[in-house]
């Protein structure tokens, strides 16, 4: 197929894979400088916790459903936001079998064995589908955050992957693994003159053309299945192309500074303080509309270490009594604190029309692992008005095996994405939309 199309031709023509911003640059500028007040767009944020939670303490009691439920004690810091959030029980991925992967399939729902002849398969994650819908108008189509070392096997219980996100080919999307890297990507302005920036872009394109010259000659030598592997390389080049095309459109448009301004984070921030800074950066990025889709694969091991635990996250995840359980509950408490202060900031941040960022955010905190090796009843907490959900409730789905993808599908529908299903979804979760 590639023989008949040029690379740039494909870029121009393909709409499903690439979602290039399609707009006149003048109108676009107008939007970027926000001279007109448009209805605030939805923002999506996924927070992945890796290893599960303290089994009998994280969710409200199963029977205690509805809006007057007793808030879980170990999540106390979140209680003040109870009207803006919802716990959902009985969601799970039918195909997840690996009791050590909290994030690999969390946002995809894929069956790792789905493709004969392969021992690992994944599919596109919900945030990337959302980004195809929400990403055109912002400088960054989506932003992935993670933590140093949380790809290591065993480390934080996230499982294989580079961030929470997986692209259309089901390949891992890499993430920014330090606050300082995220800060520079999002907010550092390059004071290089415009012509020079244009020249740089041209150079970067020429680098891509050069490596493509080699890639094509390799392509001719390879078998069909090897070419499928080489496609990852082509896809990477295409992704950079798309990014460059976008950067070109944004040339001369300054990266907006958040207000209040945010300082360059220190290099040595690790653990719980690191999460706090990441939250600040996410709020700031949403505030200046640098991106509308964010994922954060949260650190675990370094977090509990920074809170004084003397054991590793993996040790903790095999909750026996005593220290391990104490550490586990402490981790849950701090995750709640983190989310609570994140929500505080979103509520404090006002949109042009007077509403708050929180009103337009669709937040999810959760993981594919419930506790120890359990993959059912995935811990799931959704918050914010971005997808039009009605909050303040504790929902327990009737079917114990309700696909988690039904939630992802509901969120996609809720933000207005034009999709008919997601993963193994069987429909939307109606309760979320009903008062």
């Amino acid at each position: 197929m590639k023989k008949h199309f040029t690379r740039r031709g494909i870029l121009r023509s393909s709409s499903t894979l690439l979602a290039l911003p399609f707009m006149e640059s003048i109108g676009f500028r107008k939007f970027a400088s926000a001279t007109q007040v448009v209805a605030p767009p939805p923002r999506m944020v996924y927070l992945g916790m890796g290893f599960g939670v303290t089994a009998d303490k994280w969710f409200p009691e199963r029977e205690d459903t509805g809006s007057n439920y007793t808030f879980p004690k170990i999540l106390k810091p979140l209680e003040k936001h109870r009207d803006g959030l919802t716990f959902i029980q009985n969601l799970m991925h039918q195909h997840s079998q690996d009791g050590h992967s909290g994030s690999t399939f969390w946002l995809t729902g894929a069956n790792r064995y789905a493709v004969p002849g392969q021992s690992f398969h994944n599919s596109v994650s919900v945030d990337q589908v959302a980004a195809e819908h929400l990403g055109d108008e912002t400088r960054f189509t989506s932003i992935q955050l993670c933590a140093k070392g949380n790809s290591n096997s065993g480390g934080d219980g996230h499982g294989p992957g580079l961030s929470l996100a997986w692209n259309r080919l089901g390949k891992p999307v890499s993430g920014l693994d330090t606050p300082i890297a995220a800060f520079h990507r999002l907010f550092s302005n390059d004071d290089t003159p415009l012509e020079k920036l244009q020249a740089q872009l041209k150079k970067q394109r020429s680098v891509l053309d050069t490596v493509m010259a080699d890639a094509k000659s390799v392509q001719r030598k390879l078998s069909k299945s090897d070419n499928e592997k080489l496609d990852e390389y082509f896809q990477s080049v295409r992704e950079i192309e798309v990014r460059l095309a976008k950067e070109e459109k944004w040339l001369g448009v300054e990266k907006k500074k958040p207000n209040p301004p945010i300082d360059e984070p220190g290099e040595s921030l690790v653990g719980y303080p690191e999460m706090g800074i990441m939250a600040d950066l996410m709020v700031a990025a949403m505030q200046v509309d640098a991106t509308r889709v964010l994922t954060y694969r949260m650190p675990v091991d370094t977090v509990i270490a920074s809170l004084g635990a003397g054991i590793s996250a993996h040790t903790m995840s095999h909750y026996s009594h005593g220290e391990r359980r104490d550490v586990s509950e402490m981790r849950d408490l701090h995750n709640a604190k983190f989310l609570s202060s994140f929500i505080d900031k979103l509520k404090a941040s006002k949109e042009p029309d007077g509403s708050s960022l929180f009103d337009h955010s669709c937040l999810t905190m959760g993981t594919n692992l419930f506790s120890v090796h359990t993959l059912r009843n995935c811990p799931t907490l959704v918050a914010g008005g971005g997808a039009g959900f009605q909050h303040g409730r504790h929902l327990v789905m009737d079917d114990e095996k309700t696909p988690l993808c039904n939630l992802w599908y509901s969120q996609l529908k809720g933000i207005g994405a034009d999709v008919d299903s997601f993963g193994d979804s069987t429909g939307v979760i109606n309760e979320l939309f009903e008062a």
Binding site: A55, Q97, D98, S153, D214, S217, L230, Y233, I311
Partner: protein
């Protein structure tokens, strides 16, 4: 029912497990459930899940008993397994399986499902296009340019699969492409930088100059606190008069007196010791400092080899483990341990110890000398324990007269490599022509014998021309095209096209590349590459000779370390923190040496052509001085690993007796018979248990009780879901219970519990048990013998691992023929390690795409 019977036309395989592969041959490998389970299905499931009712759209009547038929079948059986494991099926109001029925069914089903997954994911032996993994990338850049790149920003390829050589799991992302470009640029710049060798020199440090004034001041401060305290006490000792004596309140005054009692004895002892007038003892205090000698910072442009010399003495009354110097490199906040040297000189006759370091270009680092360390708070906690015992704290162990650093004594990068890139320009050649030569020659070398396409080269040339037009000098202008070469597919991937559409056979060059990356994790050298190109490498004798040459080259260390590390899952060694208080002997030196011990055991097998069985049981050890102290073995002097006989009565000898094995089979606190047992089944007996099933209810009956490990694990036998695997796993672990979490021998298990772990309960260790094949053992020694008897299975497992690692793809069912071939070939020679490698390299799969 007849419907179902139809699916049972294939012969049943009663004997399952990898044990069977070697005996039965590849053709009998399948995932067919034994017919006997049909009765269980009929009895408990078909009432609802037959073809007529299909409750929940699950029809077990028509379900094939061959789990490997297709994905759908495997998925349905997975559902059956999951719902039995969670106890969801049969429903509560229906007849339940007996424990025995459940155990047997789950055992067969979980194992067959593993087999089915393997069958279904088998890709027919094709090797997927392989990207250089992170290690290989770093090695390759170093060989090409002379400088080792900083790869911390590249993804760690080990996270995605069992081995980091599996092509299908080596992903590529757009950020990575940019990282490769940046890394290559930076490395090329550093290589140029490293060409300027700094002036050599010697700097000597007399530690007393720093430490005497420091400790004098500390002592003065402490005395002052005590004097003020007593004055305050005389003045009434109330909060009101505290301020007048320099205290916030009475509570703080008390604290200050405590610190006097805590530290003064040690500091005054230090200052009184005559040797500290002219040197410094390695004293450790909690608040007032840690005696360590900092050498002058080596800057990013001071690359080269240096020698650190230490004139030191040992305090002969202090235990051996305190008499080591630890050498550390600190970059930012990260400390990297470089090695240890034991001091044997006495105070009367100090000794000069030399330690060579390699300071890489581009790095700004502190080099330090101090005593051995524990993780985290270990050293501080131990100091407190020692102080309670001896009144002053951790024994000093070592006294240092002076430390000096000399260098650079040699350049930091291998000579010739840089010159290979930027070779001398012929006098009559124009700069652009020369640049084109540099680019083309570099691309040819970087592409390992593949010819770069003219179009690609043209692009590169014009990148050079543009840079020159913008005012860059020749070398600057070359950095860009050269780094693009190092980010192109021909460099980053091992392109195996076979050069011929009809043949699956690798070309000679491709074979050379595959061989070099297998045994060196690096590209072929000129000799290997030219033999490949000329086709001579494909002759069996030549291939043997070259394989042997590669194995004798120091670069083969990389094979030993990365293969063995991944094969034996040694990442577990770093997974858990050990508390210094609980395991005072298990410090960083022991942990690092423990890892090396395993590598050195394999290296020794290879170098001395010893039978593989020695890994299961041997009458020798391969250790250094650190481990000799740890294992309490006399007469081992020096930091090099060497072979020594196992003393009579010592439990060491073979993998099971190593500290690494014991520590990997623990959680940093207690030994884990499950981890140890499962590891033995996976790696020694080649009979891996299926993965821990998800969604099994947590066993909570014994929660909170203080019990011995054997008692604790009994709960595993109570639930049928657990018993099916744990009856195989746990007994092996019990047999190894005489090794504590840190690998030291014990006769009793001591469990600490209660507040601050102050309660101690002892449990008798009962190491006796039975293997799943029925053989019994009374103790560790017998267990080790029984396992050593299984060397055929061990050899088979090693073969599988080598095939996976060497071919860069998962071991498939089609590979059993190859594995048998290799095992049959190597058995007569007692399974020598090198023979496995030779047999694999000579095999057809190794030489075909």
């Amino acid at each position: 029912m007849t419907l179902l019977r139809r699916y049972l036309y294939l012969t049943t395989v009663a004997c399952f497990g990898t044990f069977a592969y070697a005996q039965n041959g590849a053709e009998s490998i399948n995932a067919i459930m034994p017919e006997k389970h049909f009765d269980i299905l009929e009895k408990y499931c078909l009432d609802c899940h037959d073809a007529a009712i299909e409750k929940g759209e699950v029809n077990l009547e028509d379900l094939s008993f061959d789990l490997g038929t297709d994905l759908q079948t495997a998925e349905t059986w997975q559902k059956v397994l999951n719902s039995l494991n969670t106890g969801e099926m049969p429903p509560e109001d229906k007849d339940q399986l007996t424990d025995e029925e459940k155990t047997v069914l789950l055992d067969d089903l979980s194992n067959h499902l593993v087999t089915a997954r393997k069958i279904l994911s088998d890709n027919g032996g094709e090797v997927t296009l392989r990207r250089l993994n992170r290690r290989e990338y770093a090695n390759t850049l170093e060989e090409l340019i002379g400088v080792r790149p900083d790869i911390t920003n590249l993804p760690d390829d080990q996270a995605n699969a069992k081995f980091d050589t599996l092509g299908a799991s080596l992903f590529f992302s757009s950020d990575q492409l940019e990282q490769y470009l940046n890394t290559a640029r930076r490395t090329l710049e550093l290589a140029t930088l490293a060409q300027k060798t700094p002036e050599p020199g010697i700097t000597r440090i007399e530690p007393e100059k720093e430490y005497n004034p420091h400790y004098l001041k500390v002592a003065g401060d402490l005395l002052d606190r005590a004097q003020r305290y007593y004055a305050w006490e005389l003045a009434g000792g109330t909060d009101d008069v505290a301020k007048a004596h320099g205290f916030l309140d009475g509570w703080q005054a008390g604290r200050q007196l405590n610190s006097f009692h805590e530290y003064y004895p040690q500091v005054s002892k230090y200052l009184a010791a005559p040797e500290n007038k002219t040197g410094a003892a390695f004293m450790l205090t909690i608040k007032e400092g840690f005696t360590q000698i900092k050498l002058p910072v080596l800057q990013w442009n001071q690359s080269g080899k240096y020698i650190i010399r230490v004139r030191a003495s040992a305090y002969e009354d202090d235990p051996d483990r305190f008499r080591y110097l630890e050498f550390t490199r600190k970059v930012d906040q990260n400390a990297e341990r470089l090695g240890w040297r034991k001091v044997s000189g006495s105070l009367r006759k100090p000794q000069v110890i030399e330690f060579e370091i390699d300071h890489p270009p581009g790095l700004k680092a502190n080099y330090m000398v101090h005593k051995r360390t524990h993780e985290d708070r270990g050293d501080k906690n131990l100091w407190t324990e020692f102080r309670k015992e001896n009144g002053y704290g951790t024994p000093w162990g070592i006294w240092v007269d002076w430390v000096e650093i000399e260098g650079p004594i040699a350049p930091g990068i291998e000579p010739g490599r840089y010159e290979n890139v930027y070779f001398d320009k012929p006098a009559d050649q124009s700069a652009p022509d020369y640049a084109r030569d540099v680019i083309r020659r570099f691309a040819e070398r970087a592409f390992r014998g593949e010819t770069p396409s003219p179009e690609f080269l043209d692009h590169l040339y014009s990148r050079y021309d543009e840079a020159v037009a913008e005012g860059a000098n020749l070398k600057q202008a070359l950095i860009d095209p050269l780094s693009i070469i190092l980010s192109s597919p021909s460099f980053l991937y091992m392109v195996e096209s076979t050069g011929n559409e009809d043949s699956e056979l690798l070309t000679g060059t491709e074979l050379a590349v595959r061989l070099a990356f297998f045994l060196w994790s690096a590209p072929p050298d000129d000799e290997l590459l030219s033999l490949g190109k000329s086709g001579k490498l494909s002759q069996p004798e030549m291939l043997t000779a070259q394989t042997q040459r590669l194995l004798s080259d120091p670069r083969s260390e990389r094979f030993v370390e990365s293969f063995v590390h991944q094969w034996l899952e040694m990442h577990r060694l770093g997974m858990f923190a050990f508390s210094g208080r609980q395991f005072p002997y298990f410090d960083n030196a022991v942990r690092d040496s423990a890892r090396d011990e395993i590598f050195q055991m394999v290296r020794t097998l290879m170098d001395e052509k010893l039978p593989l069985r020695n890994l299961l049981k041997s009458d020798y050890l391969v250790i250094n001085d650190v481990l000799a102290d740890y294992y309490e073995i006399e007469g081992v002097t020096g930091h090099e690993f060497r072979k020594v006989p196992v003393p009579k009565g010592s439990p060491r000898g073979g993998l099971l007796g190593t500290v690494a094995f014991a520590a990997m089979g623990s959680d940093g606190q207690r030994s884990s018979p499950v981890e140890r047992g499962a590891w033995v089944l996976r790696h020694l007996l080649n009979n891996p248990p299926p993965p821990a099933p998800p969604n099994v209810p947590q066993l909570s009956r014994l929660e909170g009780e203080v019990l011995g490990v054997r008692e604790l694990q009994k709960a595993h036998q109570e639930e049928a879901q657990c018993a099916q695997c744990h009856r195989k796993i746990d007994p092996i672990g019990y047999g190894l219970e005489n090794f504590d979490a840190a690998g030291l021998w014990r006769d009793m298990e001591i469990v600490k519990s209660g507040k601050k772990n102050k309660q101690q309960t002892s449990f008798e260790i009962d190491p006796s048990g039975k293997l799943s094949n029925g053989t019994t053992f009374d103790d560790y020694y017998q267990l080790r013998d029984r396992i050593a008897d299984e060397v055929d299975n061990f050899a088979y497992g090693l073969t599988e691992a080598l095939i996976t690692y060497g071919l860069g793809r998962p071991f498939g069912f089609t590979d059993h023929t190859l594995a048998e071939e290799i095992v049959v070939k190597t058995k007569p020679g007692g399974y020598q390690f090198n023979e496995f490698i030779h047999a694999l390299v000579q095999s057809k799969p190794f030489q075909t795409k």
